[in-house]
Symmetry: C2
Subunit: 167 residues, 2 copies
């Protein structure tokens, strides 16, 4: 565009020069229309792909997360098979399975959180009981009924807790 | 360039008419350049959004899938708490937890598959043993060592199996 003649120059041009300029500009218009249409087509294709991809990504992630639990399932089946022969080992098996399940959740980004002794925080705790306990400041988590998994933006649920309160 | 007038309409146009045409075309070029640039900018923004969205979708799906397991974790903790007081109930608790874990996997789209008696299929089965069994056709799944979860495109793993074979 920097080579465009200014108006005052243009009007002094001979008809032949102007005709050439018209042809040049017509070519430029055709070229730009083509580019514009291609960009619009790309945009349209990308929009369509986005919605297809989102459901594919979702499916993949669900499968990936689910696959992490298969060893836990296998151990549950194994523990059940042995439950009849060796009842005393069942509690031990259960403990190992629990540890394994905690590991899976931690690997997925949601470690078990122990809030005992923490300052009560409504974003992280849901109080289901209140107790007074000498020497403990108000609003301290005395007991965790159900633990939280994950923290901050990645908290799966708040912990259910019993909180201290002055008499 | 020849100075001879060519025999087309353009050269017969008055310089003023041509100059108007040049101005029109210049406006059109400017307009098209603007549209093209805006389409490219939209495309660029969409591309950036796509990669941000994919990781957000992934995180959300992982959290959703992980949250499904929390009741299983809670029951594992509960069963462990009671294991000391009432050992006989542990096997029962384990069975209930196993059922619950199967339900979660099924809800996520990966039901436990029982392949006993099925025709051996390398896409669905991994043979870890071979047995001959009278009256059973070759390549029949006799025993499932580890079950598959899900099927077809949604299979998390093939089943580990023992297969029949003629002597």
């Amino acid at each position: 565009m920097s080579e465009e003649p200014r108006d005052d120059e243009a009007v002094r041009q001979e008809p032949d020069g102007l005709q050439e300029r018209v042809t040049e500009l017509q070519d430029e218009v055709a070229e730009l229309q083509d580019r514009w249409r291609r960009a619009l087509a790309d945009l349209d294709n990308l929009r369509k792909r986005v919605s297809r991809d989102a459901s594919r990504v979702r499916e993949e992630e669900r499968a990936r997360a689910a696959a992490e639990w298969l060893p836990v399932l296998d151990n549950l089946e194994r523990a059940l098979e042995h439950a009849g022969n060796d009842p005393s080992s069942v509690a031990e098996g259960l403990r190992a399975i629990h540890e394994q399940a905690l590991d899976v959740l931690a690997r997925l980004g949601f470690p078990r959180r122990d809030d005992t002794g923490a300052r009560f925080d409504p974003a992280r705790h849901e109080a289901v009981g209140v107790l007074s306990q000498e020497g403990t400041p108000d609003g301290t988590v005395l007991h965790v009924v159900q633990p939280a998994y994950g923290d901050g933006e990645r908290q799966l649920r708040p912990a259910t807790v019993v909180v201290s309160k002055a008499e």
